[in-house]
Symmetry: C2
């Protein structure tokens, strides 16, 4: 397992995701302040949202002001959010793992219990029938 490469790939994915969040934020602002520009940017982003750097590079050729704005917003989001991510992700994974294990354990236990339980129910029904 190449942890160094995984860290690099994860940071790159995260960078692209924060660019997507910054673009979403700018779009939300434009929808209030400048609907025609919102419409233009929304169409422009449609097929470029997978790679944040490509989006910004192409946007610089069309509307540099918007590219600069998305860049500023993503830098701000990263500075505000990044420090909380390690704790949130480690806790999230630990909790999700515990939940999956618990559900699995419940399924196994129910499966093993279901046969004896149903037998007991059947026996009770037979006894009740006989009593009636």
């Amino acid at each position: 397992m190449d942890l160094k490469q995984i860290a690099k790939d994860t940071a790159k994915t995260l960078q692209s995701y924060l660019t997507y969040q910054a673009t979403k934020t700018v779009l939300a602002q434009l929808s209030q302040t400048n609907p025609p520009l919102w419409h233009w940017l929304n169409n422009f982003c449609a097929d470029k949202i997978q790679d944040g750097e490509v989006l910004i590079e192409k946007l610089f050729h069309e509307k540099p002001d918007l590219a600069l704005r998305i860049m500023s917003v993503r830098e701000h989001i990263a500075q505000e959010v990044a420090e909380f991510l390690p704790e949130m992700v480690c806790t999230g994974i630990a909790q999700a793992n515990m939940q999956h294990r618990r559900q699995h354990l419940e399924r196994i236990t129910q499966f093993k219990l279901s046969n004896p339980q149903s037998k007991t129910e059947n026996q009770t029904e037979i006894i009740q029938d006989e009593e009636l």
Copy 2:
């Protein structure tokens, strides 16, 4: 801008991405140790890799051992990698922003310089023609 919601969404995306990396790691191990199982897991994951929790939940119904293995690997990766991500992402975004700004500045400068430069070249050619 709802930074709290962005942090939550980012942590969730990161969790799913680390599950993808864990699945890739387990697949790489299986390709060496158990090719038939590698083939089975590879096919199983094909349409479920977008959501890590759905993948693990469904895998628990088919092959619980593999689900537990992917869960252990993703927890390990998160513990080893997460603490470095804030620094890597903030530096990555700052560097990428600087590079985009530099390229934009170069393009503007070249564009502004190109006309006077071409005039000078033309003038030199005219002078040379006249001298000849």
